[in-house]
Symmetry: C2
Subunit: 162 residues, 2 copies
């Protein structure tokens, strides 16, 4: 299918994000399992629940624009998660592994910040206010999660790993 206009591209990008979120729901339980810090385990569990709600929000977005909810293999997220998997298979001191898990999780978050940032600018340009409202909620959640991970790293994990 040719991408003729910004609306086509918006749908293309939403499918990418939909699949990325689904990949994240499979990765987070493994990351929680690999973590030692209770605070970090909780952050991963909370983010898993948040991600499930973000997928429901995407379902709503697809409904608003009259498209069937569907994903298209997000190769970028596949790579980011492959890298996290290979990090989890490394031998590491428990606190160092926690620091490494945060590094991986922040790469995931930044992918999402870029992706949601992009579809927000498209929705704004297209005057799709209802869609924009939904996407902005998730964008803010991703930014907050990223900040929370920085805080956990700087306030406890990194010093322990040192």
């Amino acid at each position: 299918m040719k991408l003729n206009n910004l609306n086509d591209l918006l749908i293309h990008e939403l499918k990418d994000i939909y699949n990325a979120e689904q990949q994240i729901t499979k990765a987070l339980p493994k990351m929680k399992e690999a973590a030692s810090s209770d605070k970090l385990k909780k952050a991963f569990q909370d983010h898993l629940e948040m991600t499930e709600k973000q997928i429901e929000r995407l379902d709503k977005v697809f409904e608003i624009i009259g498209e069937k909810s569907s994903g298209e293999k997000c190769k970028a997220m596949e790579g980011i998660i492959k890298e996290a998997d290979s990090m989890m298979s490394e031998k590491a001191d428990a606190s160092v592994m926690d620091a490494a898990l945060i590094a991986s999780a922040q790469r995931v978050e930044h992918y999402e910040i870029a992706a949601y940032g992009t579809v927000c600018t498209y929705a704004k340009q297209l005057g799709m206010d209802e869609v924009l409202d939904q996407l902005l909620i998730t964008l803010e959640e991703e930014k907050k999660t990223d900040s929370l991970l920085t805080e956990i790293a700087e306030k406890s994990i990194n010093a322990k790993a040192e």
Copy 2:
């Protein structure tokens, strides 16, 4: 090699970033070629030159910490670029392709923002002031590039793609 402490993890992460930057220098000329907007072509060219300087800066960082400059396959960047490649092979109106290229480039930038953000917090924790100074320069450049891409998208490309 077991990752025993934050210093080991810092070196591990620097190798990941070093390889990611090298992958980016190969991707940017293709993205420039695929772009139609002169402003966007120039942004990709400028960023290519900036990336080459960022690699030199990483060489300096490796020298400071007494490690040989080397990369380790960054699977995440490989995925992000694979996705950009598959976007470039799509059929699209010229302005829509420009918008899509910006979307891909911002995913690249955000990966780097996350990665440099991480090594900056490690360098700070480890009291490596000279290393931190170098890494902070690049982190700021990546953030500025991301903002510039948003500006190009919002001020011209997205409206044309609509």
